[in-house]
Every structure is written in structure tokens, then in C-alpha cells.
Amino acid sequence: MSDPALIEGRGLGAVRGERVLFQDVSLAVQGGDGMVLRGANGSGKTTLLRQLAGLSEPQAGTVQRTTNHHWIGHSNGLKPHETPRSHLANWARVWGSEIEVEDVLLQMQMHRPADVPCRLISAGQKRRTGLGRLLLVPRDIWLLDEPFNALDADGQALLAGMIATHRAGGGAVIAALHGTAPIEVSDEVVL
């Protein structure tokens, strides 16, 4: 372990009601890593990922992040009245991004429905829009919850490519996945 970990969880545990979802989970990722969280439905993959993102309060253990992260959850964070363009432009403003939203739309192949309100576009298109946020500002950690859901083959290849580029540039990815992962996995945590 030469580099300090980008993100590290020590002795994490989660309790729902009286039920212990998982306990004593420790993990760490460095730049270039691609970690996959696996487990049956209800095993707490999402909860673990949310604890790493600082969204859920761990009932035991600590999380340390040395840098900022991107979060892609089950829901894409789109408002029904927003268009893909206005959504990305809004978050570009929030994060002070210099990148042209137009370029991101092109890269996500969302330039055609870019001005259609999100309540009218398909689930896959919504997901592509949400994933477009990853490109707005470079952040070393990507936390992705079932990112391949709702994407067609084309979209899956696109995302796999994005992840590969991100890791080649020294970034790390932690993804909760079920089924086969279309990405190269460097580490696996099974709950």
C-alpha cells in the first residue's frame, strides 16, 4: 500500500430495525481500482455504498475520503420539468464546471433529446443524462449504484468505456452490481 487510499471504510456495519444487514466490512480503494460490491437482494450493497458516499450514517465503523466523489444512485436526480440540457447545465453551475454541456450531451449521445422534458424521455435516456454528470467535473472517486441498469447494449459499452478512461487517468470506481460486470474488476466485496 504505497499510496494512501482514496476512500477507506473500516469496520462498517448497518442495522435496519433490529436486523443486522452486514458488519465488520472493511475496504479501501486506490487510484485505478475498480471495486465491485456483490450480494443478494437485501444484503445491503446499496446501504454500504451510501455509507461510503456519506449519505447513510454507519451504525458502526468509519469512512474516510481523501477527495471528492461522484454519486450515481438508483434514481437519476432528474426533475420532471428539467431537460437533459438544463439538468446538466444546472449541475455544471453548482460545481463550477468549465466543460461545455453540449460536449457532454454529445458524448452521452443525448444531443437529440437534449431539450425534451425529462418526464417524456425513456429510462435509458434518463440514466444517460444522470451519468453525464460524471463528465462535468473530474472527481477521483465514482460511486455507482447499479449503473448499468436501464441502459441498452450501446449505453453499457459507453459507460464501460467511461469507467476505463476514468481508471486509466488515476480514478477509482466502486460499483454495486448484480449479474456480470462489463468492466474489468480489480477487487470484489461480497456481502
Binding site: 458516499a53 449519505l55 447513510s56 454519486w71 434514481s75 432528474l78 426533475k79 420539468h81 428539467e82 449541475w91
Partner: protein, 220 residues
């Protein structure tokens, strides 16, 4: 002074959300006008009676408007995942919640202030009370929205939380209603308008922190 960009963006987003969610400001205008029009039919058209109850009815309409509007605000954020994104903005979720509440007050609360001269005339509110009423509705509406926002944030994860919000928010609305009603009688020179302003400031100080904590819980 410029607002930090997350707050400005949150404000813009909330404003467009409130605008899109209710056919612009047409809906709140219609709601207040409709309430005012119903009153004479339910209570009788006696001018003295209307002058007495008119301002109070408008307070009630304002409180209702805040409860009905806020029910969906944070719940929608939770369901579409936007709340996750806001919570992760470093430490500013309280301010963002305040800014969102402010935006919704602008769209759904402020119309009553603008309508007051007209509705007041229709409900026989004495002309001397018009200006105090506008000030009081502005301050009081903001306070309603702030405390209502706390209740809404607390019950964001509750399906059909509307009744719960009303029950939770009720005690917090009381000082506003009391000072607001008294301020209308006393006018701008009285002490009640100062108390009302003070309770608005108090809400501005306390409610955002509570909303922030509640939204963190809702996202958890």
C-alpha cells in the same frame, strides 16, 4: 454580494420547479382568490361580519397554501434522487433547504401579499389595514413556509405525509397567527408587527438547521 453558486443554482432550480409544478403563479393566485370568493357564500355577506373575519380567513388560506405546497417539495426530491445530490454538497444542505423554501414561498405565498388590496376590498377589510396586512402576510407567510418546511422535511420519507405535516406544524404556526392578527389591528406602529418580525427572524435562524438535519435523515 453574490450567492455561492450551489445556492443560486438550487434557488433557480426550485423556482422553476415551483413554477412548473403549479402552472406558474396562476394556481396560487387562483387558490387565494377562490378562498376569498367562497367566504361570503359560507359565512354570509354581511359587511360587518366580513370585515371582522376577512383577514383571519386569509391567514388560514396562507397557512393551508404553505402546507399543501410543501408536502411535495422534499418528497419529490427524495424520490427522484435530487436530494442525494444536494446532501452531498459539502455542509450546505441547511442553506439549500432554506433557499428552496424561499423559492416556494415566492411562488405560492407572495401572491397573497400582492392580492391583498383586491381581496381586502372584496372582504370589506378596512382600508387602513391594507398596508399592515400586506407586511404581516409577507412576514407571516415566510414563517409558515419555514416551519412547514421543517415538518415537510421530517415527513419527507412518509408516503401521504400531508396530514402528518399539518399535525406537526400546527403548534409552530401559533405565534405567527397571534402576532399577525394583532398586527393587523395595531397597524405598523404597534409592537405586534415587531414581534412578528422577530419570530420570522427566529424561524430563519432555527428552521434551516432543523430542515438540514431532517433532510439528512430522509436521505439516509
Amino acid at each position: 454580494m453574490t450567492l455561492p453558486s450551489p445556492l443560486l443554482s438550487a434557488f433557480r432550480q426550485a423556482l422553476s420547479e415551483a413554477w412548473a409544478g403549479g402552472a406558474g403563479v396562476l394556481l396560487p393566485f387562483g387558490f387565494f382568490a377562490g378562498t376569498a370568493v367562497l367566504v361570503p357564500f359560507t359565512m354570509g355577506s354581511d359587511p360587518d361580519l366580513l370585515a371582522k373575519i376577512g383577514p383571519g380567513v386569509l391567514w388560514l388560506a396562507l397557512a393551508l397554501a404553505s402546507l399543501v405546497t410543501l408536502e411535495r417539495v422534499f418528497q419529490a426530491d427524495l424520490q427522484d434522487g435530487a436530494l442525494d445530490l444536494w446532501v452531498q454538497e459539502d455542509g450546505s444542505i441547511s442553506q439549500i433547504a432554506a433557499v428552496k423554501t424561499l423559492a416556494h414561498w415566492l411562488i405560492s405565498g407572495l401572491p397573497l401579499v400582492l392580492l391583498t388590496p383586491l381581496l381586502g376590498m372584496m372582504l370589506q377589510v378596512p382600508a387602513t389595514q391594507t398596508v399592515p396586512a400586506m407586511v404581516a402576510y409577507a412576514l407571516g407567510g415566510l414563517t409558515f413556509f419555514l416551519w412547514g418546511g421543517v415538518a415537510a422535511a421530517l415527513s419527507a420519507s412518509v408516503a401521504r405525509g400531508g396530514l402528518l405535516i399539518a399535525l406537526i406544524a400546527l403548534p409552530f404556526y401559533l405565534p405567527t397567527v397571534i402576532f399577525g392578527t394583532l398586527a393587523l389591528d395595531e397597524g405598523l406602529g404597534g409592537t405586534s408587527i415587531l414581534f412578528l418580525a422577530a419570530s420570522t427572524l427566529f424561524a430563519l435562524g432555527v428552521a434551516p438547521a432543523a430542515m438540514g438535519a431532517a433532510l439528512r435523515l430522509a436521505a439516509d
